[in-house]
């Protein structure tokens, strides 16, 4: 039933989740390193709170420790609801699988979307 009006736009799902969420998008123009940029205790990434939001970024950089930091944030309930990356790599995929954070490939320009975590179909919040 949701598919009916979620089908107008779609992101490629890499790490699938279940159900759908409607959330604000935190968009970063520059790549980040989870190690150093993300505080797993507060969920603040490069100065911005990402808890309960959808994180959109070009790609991640930096240490192979990165997946450990996202895992730690998720354990504390301080991870984003989903991540949308323009250029996902083995490091980001590993991080999202371990942390249980749905990951999509692509680019979104909206401020808020309603997304199906399994298919990546989304619509802009009304």
């Amino acid at each position: 039933m949701y598919m009916y009006y979620l089908a107008d736009q779609r992101l490629k799902p890499l790490v699938k989740g279940r159900g759908h969420v409607s959330a604000e998008i935190v968009k970063l123009e520059r790549p980040v390193s989870f190690l150093g940029d993300l505080d797993p205790k507060t969920g603040v990434l490069a100065g911005i709170n990402i808890v309960g939001k959808i994180l959109a970024l070009p790609y991640v950089k930096g240490s192979t420790v990165g997946p450990y930091v996202l895992w730690n944030a998720a354990k504390r309930g301080k991870s984003p609801l989903a991540i949308v990356a323009e250029k996902p790599d083995l490091m980001l995929v590993t991080a999202c699988v371990l942390a249980g954070v749905p990951l999509f490939e692509g680019r979104v320009d909206a401020k808020c979307i309603n997304i199906d975590l399994e298919t990546g179909a989304y619509e802009i919040c009304k």
Partner: protein, 373 residues
């Protein structure tokens, strides 16, 4: 339960990057075991796996840690405690904690066998000098691979994915350890990615092979090169080569890469870990001259350290500090220096970034001279 968790995680990752295909591995070597680099987050992840009852299912070794095994380097209490927890978790999972970045010293990986290694210099070494196959797996992925017994079948685990893409003529040599590192760094910087095929490369000794492998993978995303006459099956790789790039590395290129040398606070040899020949060579050179004016640090694996026996004490009287199980890249001990001279291009890349300490690259002979400057 842990087995299921690891298998599910790897299959999920494989779904994304290798159409769900996985490959069984014979051995694993895990990185991200230094408290300095993984910190509290990493420790908690390892302890979480232990709480699930995780055990490795293939022979698994581990990288250098933040502390040395003999207590030669002084470390703060917090790091010591964190490192103790990491070792405890690794032991609980059945990891052979060899604390070495050169596991190829005694894991004689056979050609065309599969491995889940996560230390880039070691991956490049076994790919290049043994034609044993491993991709560069992120630290936690190699550990999950060790538990599950398989990893995603990425291109480097297939012959097609190992097809050489660049023909590299080496017009300099025979290569000593510093030159081999510079050649690796230059190829890395010029190509960035792909599979280089090297023609005309002569490596002077074991140390130069190690430095080449370490530098290539430090200065690029590449972890495999074919060396004519050296890599097992090099002729097969030559025939299947699809040489889109052709480059030459000349004596001038190598000379230009190296700046002027200056007097350092300390000299450092052993990144990747020093083999016995290298340590004995340094000892002989220093014995000829008497105790060094500036300390010469040599990092090596606990196995080699044990072989040295009383020689390590003899060395310390000559101001040569041999230590095992850690290195100046991953130990906070490095921060007490302003500048360090080394023949390792890998150390020259990481030490300034991780510790804000200046590094002066030098030939091994010159490095020893600088210890007396």
């Amino acid at each position: 339960m842990a087995q299921e968790y690891a298998k599910e995680a790897i299959l999920k990752i494989a779904d994304v990057i290798s159409s769900g295909e996985v490959v069984p591995v014979e051995t694993a070597h895990i990185s991200g075991v230094s408290y300095l680099t993984i910190g509290e987050h990493g420790v908690e992840f390892l302890e979480f796996l232990v709480s699930l009852g995780a055990k490795v299912s293939v022979f698994t070794t581990s990288n250098p840690a933040a502390t040395d095994l003999g207590g030669v380097l002084e470390i703060d209490k917090e790091t010591l405690e964190g490192q103790r927890r990491i070792y405890k978790a690794l032991w609980a999972m059945g990891v052979s904690t060899i604390s070495s970045c050169t596991p190829y010293d005694f894991i004689l990986t056979r050609p065309r066998t599969f491995h889940a290694w996560a230390e880039s210099n070691a991956i490049t070494y076994i790919n290049t000098f043994r034609d044993a196959w491993s991709d560069k797996n992120p630290g936690p992925l190699a550990l999950l691979g060790a538990i599950a017994g398989f990893v995603p079948k990425t291109p480097l685990y297939t012959l097609e994915g190992r097809r050489p893409t660049a023909y590299v003529k080496i017009d300099v040599g025979p290569l000593d350890s510093l030159e081999a590192g510079v050649v690796g760094a230059l190829i890395g910087e010029r190509l960035g990615s792909g599979v280089p095929y090297l023609s005309g490369a002569v490596f002077r000794d074991e140390e130069s092979r190690r430095e080449f492998a370490a530098a290539l993978s430090t200065y690029s995303s590449m972890v495999f090169a074919v060396v004519e006459g050296v890599t097992p099956h090099w002729w097969e790789y030559l025939h299947m080569g699809d040489f889109r790039d052709k480059i030459t590395i000349s004596r001038d290129d190598v000379a230009k890469y190296l700046g002027d040398v200056e007097t350092p606070d300390a000299v450092y040899i052993g990144c990747p870990f020093a083999d016995p020949d290298t340590i004995l060579w340094v000892l002989e050179e220093v014995k000829k001259r008497g105790p060094a004016k500036r300390p010469i640090y040599i990092s090596t694996s606990p196995h080699v350290y044990k072989q040295l026996g009383k020689l390590a004490e003899t060395a310390s009287r000559l101001n040569i500090i041999i230590f095992a199980g850690t290195c100046l890249v991953v130990s906070p001990f490095t921060r007490r220096f302003k500048s360090i001279a080394t023949n390792s291009l890998k150390a020259a890349f990481y030490i300034p970034k991780l510790h804000e300490v200046r590094v002066i690259p030098c030939r091994k002979e010159k490095c020893i001279e600088l210890a007396y400057a």
